[in-house]
């Protein structure tokens, strides 16, 4: 199981209920496949950077999920089929999260060492010069 983010753009002419319906459908695909939903975020209407399906605006929805490849495949298939969805993207996030954790722990370790050690030069300038 891996962490993914699915982001899709719904046609801005779709009503609130239609968007909720799409969300519910995607949700059911994920949960029935054994995945877990961490977050559903309706990011609202935004201007698109370029025209998609003759639309200049779109309603962005973001799903943060834990799933496997089969679930993602099915989700993408369904999103492709839906008329109201004009664009979607799936991004894997677990690697990024792990990378950030590593950086954080490294920083903490360094801060602890500096605090407990000599501690004569607590200025950030020395560290910045090293980077």
């Amino acid at each position: 199981m891996r962490n993914y983010e699915i982001m899709f753009i719904v046609n801005p002419n779709a009503t609130e209920e239609e968007i909720d319906k799409i969300n519910a459908q995607i949700e059911s695909i994920i949960t029935s496949g054994g995945g877990k939903i961490e977050k559903i975020e309706k990011m609202g209407k935004r201007r698109l950077a370029y025209e998609v399906d003759k639309q200049r605006e779109g309603y962005y929805v973001l799903f943060a999920i834990v799933a496997n490849g089969d679930i993602i495949k099915e989700c993408e298939r369904r999103l492709r089929v839906m008329d109201a969805v004009i664009k979607y993207i799936t991004v894997r996030t677990d690697e990024e999260v792990r990378r950030l954790e590593k950086i954080r722990s490294y920083r903490q370790k360094r801060a602890a060492r500096r605090g407990s050690g000599a501690g004569t030069k607590p200025g950030p300038s020395a560290e910045e010069a090293m980077q």
Partner: protein, 84 residues
Amino acid sequence: MRSAKEKRPAGQKQYYRRKKVCKFCVERIDSINYKDVKLLSQFVPERAKIMPRRISGVCSPHQRLLNDAIKKARNIALLPFTTE
């Protein structure tokens, strides 16, 4: 920092190049996320091309992450591929 008008012997070209630093290293920005349009758009000038490292001064690991993020953002219409 701007001492561009320092007096130099005549004949020598007056160049002052400010030392470029990687924004992400200095400000300790760890995550370069494709959703963060505000951050990414700083590195996408008018023609919507990705700003080269020699101009922005971003270090190579961060430029790589930045490239990935910008390309993802383009895919989902958060950033333009080109200007019309």
